[in-house]
Symmetry: C2
DNA sequence: TATAACCTAACGACCGTTAGGAAGGTGGAA
DNA sequence: TTCCACCTTCCTAACGGTCGTTAGGTTATA
């Protein structure tokens, strides 16, 4: 489907150049069509951008569900630490993650509301899912130091974002450096 | 000095709209001059942008030195935790911090090299300073769990960025939420 | 007298978008 | 089965607008 090809190309361009920096001409050129042809598939730049956000979040959500499901028999530390490896692998293979992070922190001003309406439910779902996961693991394994599962989940997400930013910006090497620096400290503070 | 006023206005615009999104017309308008008058002070948009980066990093560096100096008698936890409060206060009062973070993670593609040459020494200096600080504190207080001071400093910087991102994006309330979630865990993992 | 700081006017380039039409496939009516 | 209307997808051409930038002139300051 040409429509999907446009979308994926747009994700890549928006990730690298931002909303204002990306140009429909260049996107069209990479797809192999002319600029006005995009309007046969999307109403305009805004529509294309928001579609790209929606598509990226939807894909990520499905991948996350699959990952956590595949890891449900693993010990907690493997699961939480493996999540970083999984994110790194995903980010290496495509630019969706970079796009998501960029949009989350620096959305185009005029679409800030619409972007927020797409992101907030996603982050909240992630937070809730992690909170539930920690609570259930603790019930069986009694592994955590504190029983404030919500804050523990939030802390984990904060760490995730910190190292993810490094991954997006500086690449794999510095990312691994950060992860190896922060994880032992975080894990030691988390468990009892 | 008009030149500085242009610079500060530029920082604010670049922070909110990004390099591509910011326009010299709007910057000039806010300053109270016409667009071409900017060229009496800067060679062009690139020059203005890189000057803004240099100015912001220089200012931040001076402020950081002053902060760490003023806190040199405080216990380590106060110093490290107080740094977050200090960052939050700074970010509330001006948009320099938002600009710095935005540029650090998402520089304009065509200036990525130049931006990197300005940022890398700054981050490295920060990392070295923190490493030394932790080492010296540990010598007197024997407070840390691990003696890998470099990694401890890196971990701390990672946390800082995680919560700073939240501050820049979601504002003070969610920032405090994050900080309160992540700090007890991090601190417990750091000390012995 | 020279220089810095501002102005108006205008440049070419690129932007997102629209108009209008050609090609091709699809589905229903004759 | 043939035909025609329709829709989708692409095109060329062009629109108005904004962008960063330059030329050239005026004014005030040193």
């Amino acid at each position: 489907m040409k429509s999907d090809l446009i979308l994926q190309t747009a994700v890549s361009h928006f990730a690298k150049e931002g909303y204002e920096g990306a140009s429909l001409s260049k996107i069209a050129e990479e797809v192999g069509i002319k600029k006005p042809s995009i309007y046969a598939h999307y109403k305009g730049k805004d529509d294309l951008f928001l579609s790209a956000v929606q598509y990226s979040l939807h894909t990520l959500k499905a991948q996350l569900a699959a990952y956590f499901n595949s890891m449900r028999e693993e010990p907690l530390e493997s699961l939480l630490l493996g999540y970083f490896e999984w994110l790194a692998k995903e980010s290496r293979d495509n630019e969706r993650m970079k796009f998501i992070i960029r949009v989350a922190y620096f959305p185009p001003l005029k679409l800030k509301t619409e972007v927020g309406e797409l992101f907030n439910p996603f982050f909240n779902a992630m937070h809730r899912h992690l909170t539930r996961l920690l609570r259930e693991r603790h019930r069986h394994e009694k592994v955590l130091y504190s029983e404030d599962f919500s804050n523990a989940a939030l802390a984990y997400l904060t760490i995730t974002e910190g190292v993810m930013n490094e991954l997006v910006y500086s690449g794999m090497e510095k990312y691994n450096q950060r992860l190896q620096a922060v994880w032992p400290i975080f894990w030691r503070g988390l468990i009892r």
